[in-house]
């Protein structure tokens, strides 16, 4: 019998094997991503934002969920699925919630953040943002997190991404349309964020793509280095 009823009823939400040296100590397992928060990503769509199927530019943050099967730590080997040629390597900053945030105003939002951590969100490249399949975002092990949590200023941090040892992209986290504070305010208006939840600041435009055999590393001052590879 495959079914383990006890497991279904009693397994706590599987927390990723990532621990911090201070509260909230560990992640809850909830990871919320933001698409099109980079002005260049929205600009790349040009007039298409007014045409069907979109019909209007986004008003609320464009959010997606990275489910628990995607969560991975440093040094992870992300397996490229057989039906996929390459991953888009989205480098971003994760805001670790330290204090429950429910309908918090932007002016107070950062008081709910315990710190930041590095995140690499690997997606199957997709051109349409209308109703992208969950297949593009929910691949096993496709969300690398860590290694540290530190109280860096999310709006002035620069992320440096390299692929096979060569510089690939520099991302100024402060260039996002919605700042960290604005994002927490707009998201917590309708969904409460809890300690250990991770809110990603936004994927950069023109993210590099990686194929099987490539190694990558993301680093930022005070946040260490998040490495991984595609297998």
């Amino acid at each position: 019998m495959l079914v383990n009823k006890a497991a279904a009823q009693h397994l706590a939400m599987a927390a990723p094997e990532i621990h911090f040296e201070r509260a909230p100590w560990r992640l809850s397992g909830q990871v919320i991503g933001v698409a099109l928060n980079d002005p260049a990503a929205l600009a790349a769509l040009g007039g298409a934002v007014h045409a069907p199927p979109y019909k209007a530019p986004p008003q609320a943050p464009v959010l997606y969920i990275k489910p628990r099967n995607t969560l991975a730590g440093i040094g992870a080997r992300v397996v490229l699925p057989a039906d996929v040629a390459e991953f888009e390597l989205g480098a971003t900053l994760g805001l670790v919630i330290g204090r429950t945030a429910c309908a918090v105003p932007a002016a107070q939002a950062l008081a709910h953040v315990a710190g930041c951590t590095l995140v690499l969100d690997l997606s199957v490249p997709h051109d349409s943002f209308y109703r992208p399949s969950v297949r593009f975002k929910a691949r096993d092990g496709s969300c690398l997190i860590g290694p540290l949590m530190a109280a860096v200023d999310p709006d002035t941090t620069t992320l440096l991404l390299s692929v096979d040892g060569e510089p690939a992209q520099a991302v100024a986290a402060g260039r996002m349309l919605r700042s960290a504070a604005r994002l927490i305010a707009d998201v917590s208006e309708f969904m409460t964020l809890r300690p250990g939840d991770l809110l990603l600041l936004g994927l950069p435009a023109s993210a590099p793509r990686v194929h099987a055999g490539q190694r990558f590393a993301l680093t930022a001052a005070g946040l260490g280095t998040l490495e991984g590879c595609v297998a």
């Binding site: 279904a8 939400m13 628990r68 109703r131 969950v134």
Partner: protein, 255 residues
């Protein structure tokens, strides 16, 4: 076997049905109004289906651009949206169209990756009822259905009972219906799913690992209507349960 998780007199308990309503694991028998009902299992990834009943596709066809022949329309929800039986869900002041969705919720019991349809139901631990609310006013055409519509606090109501898979010989043979203030507004049958439970497990496990506690909300049939503060919404599935929820306005939530 049916089990629930409830809070009573300072502790969390497992409970089973009883002539009075329910019986706690320590023997106390209680009426259902006496306890606080929680979602009946530890919920992992919440996977929801849009447009998985042929009649509902037809109902929303003016607004939608999909047909039932496309890839299943799947979206994910977060744990903050969960609510138990007899809870109160906030209806925002500016909403004009907020509706319930009565759905069969399928709870995974064994890890599933690359599972074929014929074996899929062996990975199911059990079933419960879900009321998967939406506030249509906030619909935007970016990463539809956007989280502001479908992933609001208190918008994923689960329960009251977790029903063992062994007690549900055919998940495609269940009638479901919704009552608003006692009046039936929605009815359907799981035989009308576009993608049945086994097909959904095969599809999902083709690209992601399903883990014990993950839950698949299998979509809703025709008959969703607007609900207002104070309304009592009852979602019912034969043999699975009768899930009660009440709408509260902003003032209830200090807004």
């Amino acid at each position: 076997m049916k089990t629930a998780r409830v809070a009573y007199a300072g502790a969390l308990h497992e409970a089973v049905p009883h002539a009075r309503g329910l019986q706690l694991d320590d023997g106390r028998a209680l009426a259902e109004e006496e306890v606080v009902w929680l979602p009946p299992f530890d919920v992992g990834t919440i996977i929801a289906l849009g447009l998985n009943y042929a009649d509902h596709v037809k109902e929303l066809s003016r607004e939608l651009t999909v047909t039932a022949k496309d890839e299943p329309l799947v979206f994910l929800k977060g744990p903050g949206s969960l609510l138990g039986h007899r809870g109160v869900t906030r209806r925002p002041r500016d909403a004009t169209f907020m509706h319930y969705e009565c759905e069969l919720a399928v709870v995974i019991g064994a890890p599933a990756k690359g599972v074929v349809r014929a074996d899929a139901l062996r990975h199911v631990a059990g079933y419960t009822v879900c009321n998967d609310y939406a506030v249509r006013d906030y619909l935007e055409n970016w990463y539809r259905p956007n989280l502001r519509v479908k992933n609001r606090d208190g918008g994923t109501v689960l329960g009251p009972w977790f029903v063992d898979a062994a007690d549900v010989p055919d998940p495609q043979a269940l009638a479901l219906r919704t009552f608003v203030n006692g009046q039936r507004t929605q009815q359907g049958h799981t035989s009308n799913m576009v993608n049945d439970v086994a097909s959904l497990i095969e599809y999902l496990s083709s690209f992601m690992t399903l883990n014990p506690g993950d839950v698949i909300l299998t979509g809703t049939p025709d008959g969703v209507v607007n609900v207002n503060p104070g309304d009592e919404v009852v979602c019912e599935i034969d043999g699975i349960g009768r899930l009660v929820n009440t709408l509260g306005d902003d003032s209830v939530f200090g807004r």
